[in-house]
């Protein structure tokens, strides 16, 4: 089968996958909103406009205004940057450390090194991610950077385990044996032959961790441990709206919907990608 045919059928598969289409569209909308906010927002988000405070949705302010008269649509657009940036960097940290650790553990399967890496992973799992975040904030103070580190640390064992289990299956295959016979060392085999073959798994898991990262960032900034003012964030918008929820429900509604739709989009996209990369699982779960 030529490459061109494979690619075309992959593209056709993608277009037929409803999860991937809906998820991709939702993700695209929020990513685009974040990017557009760098060059244009309907209203500035740092100004105070007391005359227009707590206005319900109208033609001028499609999602209404908050208690400082700031436009909620603009706040959500700028807040998308924070959410996406925190989640992306946290996934990056998880992959940067987790993938090499998983590859290393798989290449030295059954040795002390493997055992130490896997037990270390278990240990990080024993700390719920929120507790790690709380410890880090208690020590270094609340900030977006510390939120990223806290979420990122928790991603490391996720990617390490996934990479190791994917790699272990591959090490049994004939093409790896061929590479060993050809005289390649285990480090070279890991990066040249194992890594490209676990990439699909990593992309799917990366999408899921991305969505979990957005939820975690929202939770942390809701309790004041994430991005600090004046950086807009969805979680803090919800925290600020809480005392006004009885007379200004729109302030609580829209940032929450933004989180829900972004996370939903990423999850659907992850499901869709899994279907395409791993046809055996299709319809199964």
């Amino acid at each position: 089968m030529s490459t061109a045919v494979t690619e075309r059928s992959l593209g056709a598969q993608m277009l037929r996958n409803r999860n991937l289409l809906i998820g991709g569209a939702l993700t695209f909308v929020f990513a685009a909103a974040a990017l557009i906010s760098f060059v244009w927002v309907p209203y500035a988000v740092d100004g105070v406009d007391i005359a227009n405070k707590i206005k319900p949705p109208s033609a001028a302010h499609p999602l209404g205004t908050d208690h400082f008269g700031r436009d909620i649509l603009s706040m959500i657009m700028v807040g998308a940057r924070t959410s996406i940036a925190v989640a992306i960097v946290a996934v990056g940290i998880g992959m940067l450390f987790g993938v090499p650790l998983g590859l290393w553990a798989a290449a030295r399967k059954g040795t002390l090194l493997d055992e130490v890496i896997m037990r270390g992973n278990d240990l990080v799992f024993a700390f719920p991610s929120l507790l790690i975040a709380i410890m880090i904030t208690a020590i270094f103070g609340p900030s977006a950077v510390n939120a990223i580190i806290a979420i990122g640390i928790f991603n490391i064992p996720v990617f390490a385990r996934l990479t190791r289990s994917g790699a272990l299956a591959l090490w049994q295959r004939d093409f790896i044996l061929a590479a060993r016979v050809a005289g390649k060392g285990s480090a070279r085999i890991s990066f040249e032959h194992i890594l490209p073959n676990v990439a699909n798994l990593l992309i799917v898991q990366g999408t899921i961790q991305f969505s979990l990262g957005i939820l975690a960032e929202a939770g942390l900034s809701y309790v004041g441990l994430g991005a600090q003012p004046p950086i807009p964030s969805w979680g803090r918008m919800l925290a600020e709206s809480q005392t006004m929820i009885s007379f200004a429900p729109h302030m609580a509604l829209f940032p929450g919907l933004a989180i829900l739709l972004t996370v939903l989009g990423l999850n659907l996209m992850g499901d869709g990608l899994r279907d395409i990369f791993d046809p055996k699982l299709r319809r199964g779960r």
Partner: protein
């Protein structure tokens, strides 16, 4: 079984020891003096010296670690700097909110997820399956503290069925207290129930494609009978593991939900301690939560080995 239990017990001990060292060192790496950090910039030198003495900061690193761990083993978690009261007593009071909340949520999540998962698996591909999968997809994506706020808006502010927050205390009546914990428990349970229902469904579908189910159908059982008598019990193993893991999420998730509803649990205690720079409380509560999580995982592993003899052999 004994050998397996001992090996898990050893690994439990090692996990706890390493966790305690990590937490202890994390607090130790604080730039500067914890006492100065706790008192802030305008501390008087003599107050500082007194606090250093009280915190036992004058010993070596090893002495301080031994003090902290030794104290916890005897049930003495130290004295809160801000509240001037014993941390163990504070934890004791707060645990009576956090633990019932986690158990309440776990019960709700299980009671919702089991029927939903079984229903979806039994009607795979039909409307029921599509509905359960759609609702759980939303349940996984919804931020639970936002869901909690919406429930407050609907059930507390508009309908006035529940209070918007606070906790009356168990001595004011079990019914009132359970009522105060209901909205928080539902908020906590929703994402967990969604995950559990999906696991239940896929575990059942895996089991339903096994040969012994075909044999059961061949000897004349209906699809429903085969599901109830043979598939369900086998599908329970992965489901039980997930339930055990969810306990740790519930303890941690409870931290945020307690803040939404102003519940006087461990979660609010941690936040108050952070803003008051009361590091002893943070250190001890985090250690206690990690202990709870590690212990529950240990018990799940044992239960798992009881159900599945193959696992004992592997140890």
């Amino acid at each position: 079984m004994l050998r397996y239990t001992l090996s898990r017990l050893l690994s439990l001990g090692v996990s706890l020891a390493v966790a305690s060292v990590v937490i202890f060192l994390a607090i130790e790496v604080l730039p500067g003096d914890p006492a100065a950090y706790m008192l802030g910039l305008n501390a008087q030198p003599d107050t500082l010296a007194a606090l250093r003495d009280e915190l036992g900061l004058n010993g070596t690193l090893w002495e301080r670690y031994a003090d902290w761990v030794g104290g916890m083993l005897r049930g003495d978690f130290g004295t809160s700097y801000t509240y001037r009261s014993s941390v163990s007593e504070m934890i004791g009071e707060r645990l009576w909110v956090s633990l019932p909340l986690a158990l309440y949520a776990l019960t709700l999540s299980t009671v919702i997820a089991f029927p939903a998962g079984i229903w979806a698996a039994a009607r795979r591909g039909k409307a029921a399956d599509v509905t359960v999968m759609g609702v759980t997809q939303l349940g996984v994506a919804i931020p639970n503290f936002w869901f909690a706020m919406l429930m407050v808006l609907v059930f507390a502010i508009n309908l006035r069925w529940f209070s918007a927050g606070g906790f009356p205390g168990w001595d004011k009546g079990v019914w009132l207290s359970l009522k105060a914990l209901t909205l928080p428990a539902v908020a906590l349970a929703l994402p967990q129930a969604s995950i559990l229902a999906r696991v239940m469904r896929s575990a059942l579908l895996d089991t339903l494609s096994e040969d012994f189910i075909r044999t059961a159908r061949a000897k004349g059982l209906t699809k429903g009978q085969a599901l109830r008598r043979h598939a369900l019990r086998n599908a329970l193993i992965p489901v039980l593991t997930i339930i055990g893991m969810q306990f740790s999420f519930l303890m941690a998730g409870g931290i945020i939900i307690e803040n939404v509803f102003f519940l006087p649990g461990l979660g609010r205690m941690i936040f108050q301690a952070i803003s008051a720079r009361d590091l002893i409380v943070v250190e001890s509560v985090v250690m206690l939560l990690v202990f709870a999580v590690v212990l529950v995982n240990f018990m799940v592993e044992l239960a798992y080995a009881l159900v599945d003899p193959r696992l004992r052999a592997r140890a």
